[in-house]
Symmetry: C3
């Protein structure tokens, strides 16, 4: 049992998970794949897990472990990959992502990766929250005081979309304004920069190349640096696969090049 716990902790990539590994073994994480499992199918994969990913990727200086957890959890939810979610939701808490932030990430991705993806994430996250004794009073309320809205920027966005598509799908245009940009994006318990990082990660992870330019620009307007964006993409190569990262690469390049300064 101790060996198993150590193995799980090892694959969770950081020693900070270790303190919780005892509970984890009788928790959601116990359905997860262990390093022993990995080795029994591919000794090489164990080498890459411990060397390349744990020993190198997560330690790169361009993006904090907290941000890497946000990127990873967003990718897993966007791709509906429940098998790795318990491990990474737990690791996200260990890496400093607050329960309220995780709550907002799930909520945000209900809209940016589809309702059922959020429901699958709820099923995992509620167990992790129960195990960590995270109760509703630590979560953002249903209707908090919203962040102030940049009316000019939002008016420009809304007018552009309405002119292009208002006659095509008026309901969708209206929901985009009311539910997304005047409600979801103004929720205060996930900083706009982090909300943008979640969005861009989900877009890359699900191959939504056409939606990247708007949201990568928004992310950088919200404070994500160019180096952080590039590191998030590098991180996603591992968690969403090389083809998704490579298809996003020329789009990132063009956004970087077109931005002033």
């Amino acid at each position: 049992m101790k060996a198993l716990a150590a193995t799980i902790a090892s694959l969770t990539l950081f020693a900070s998970s270790l303190a919780h590994a005892g509970q984890a073994s009788s928790s959601p994480a116990s359905n997860s794949v262990t390093l022993d499992d990995v080795r029994s199918v591919s000794p090489a994969l164990e080498r890459f897990a411990q060397g390349t990913i744990q020993g190198d990727l997560w330690k790169r200086p361009g993006l904090s472990p907290r941000d890497r957890s946000i990127v990873t959890v967003a990718a897993l939810i966007a791709r509906n990959q429940t098998v790795e979610m318990p491990r990474h939701v737990t690791l996200a808490l260990d890496n400093g992502v607050k329960p309220g932030e995780l709550s907002e990430i799930v909520t945000h991705l209900a809209f940016y990766s589809g309702w059922a993806n959020a429901m699958a994430a709820v099923a995992v996250t509620k167990d992790v929250f129960a195990q960590r004794r995270i109760a509703t009073d630590q979560l953002p309320p249903a209707s908090p005081t919203p962040l102030p809205l940049d009316e000019a920027t939002e008016a420009r966005r809304a007018t552009g979309v309405a002119q292009n598509f208002g006659a095509v799908a008026p309901g969708m245009v209206q929901y985009t304004t009311d539910v997304l940009f005047r409600d979801l994006w103004l929720r205060p318990d996930l900083a706009p920069r982090d909300r943008s990082l979640v969005t861009v990660s989900a877009l890359v992870a699900s191959g939504q190349v056409a939606q990247i330019p708007y949201h990568l620009n928004r992310a950088m307007d919200n404070g994500l640096t160019r180096e952080q964006a590039a590191e998030a993409l590098t991180h996603l190569a591992f968690y969403a696969g090389w083809p998704n990262a490579f298809s996003a690469l020329p789009v990132f390049k063009e956004v970087f090049e077109k931005r002033p300064g």
Copy 2:
């Protein structure tokens, strides 16, 4: 138990589910996420579920609850999202989708979203059918009398594809004619308009933008109105995520604009 059943029924979005909620609680739906689960991770998500989605989206007049169920089930199967399938296959029956139509939707998506997606849908649907005592005699036979074929239109389609791709992948071109357009599409227990609605929904839900123009035009030839198509897209924004809907939006616009009249 009663509270749980009520909660499940509430999240199934329509009171018509209520009558079956008692059975549902010991059925496939019991693996589903409840509103209590949702609240324990995100009170905001519960607000969106009950307000925006249940209280507003499903009640919009542009598309009937029956059609919304067809769109939702198609999206879930195309995206292989089993966690929400029991709920929505059950709701589809409540909303007037016939067992034979559900059977045809699964069969159709075996070809339009991949064989394994259909197998996952079979695993869910067989349990719902068992619970509702739907037996094989209510299902379409393996080889029914086919709908009449519009020989001229099909000849035009087949010739175009053969000229373009007959020398590239002759097997695929042949199967497209024999299995899809001279067999699957002629099965009478799902109306061509509904079959098209399933196809377009699956394409939007899985990001297959390049295949939308042909099938959206075909859908409208088969009787889907422009308003219904736009509402289906709006509905899919919630069930397949905003990025998929937004990537499809300019394609819908172009198809609408190019159609005569």
Copy 3:
């Protein structure tokens, strides 16, 4: 029980599975969907399974059953479709794919379809390996003697990518060289031609059209014939859905036409 085993064997598509059906019924495959399940939802789907797919597709001469298994397993892993994996990993062994080759396929797709896809495949494959008494000594070591590297070709690739993207995402460019092309691709227990077949299948199966030209050319450089590539695409129409295959078709055509001779 005997009837069930026969049914499972029948759906596994080849008589060679029959010898193992007895074990299979108390194994990973027992979670799979049986032909009885299929029939209880769609008699038509059973007809397509036994007629079109088992009776025709898998017997086409353009691609061997072994190669069809490689294509199918790659598609299932790339699409994270665990429900059909036990059946097809088992069938792959029956069709002559070696345990070490399956191990390499999982390892390869950790990078080409994302880490969590490989973890889900590990969970299935370890059970199949246990059932077949395949131990670690039959698997490729973590660090085998690599295949010889074609330095000139690799230098050309690396230089091109570095010029294009070295300033955009230096970490990703470096990992692409070090981890993918100077490590993963040189692992000797999966022939480069088969590794390319896995890669191209995964790209088609997950709609990664933009990445197909490079890898289809590489596949043909590695010995995949034009006829085999076309048959793989035809096969993927069934296992990844017609839209993915149709979106890849013009790309295959262009690659075929541009290749000398």
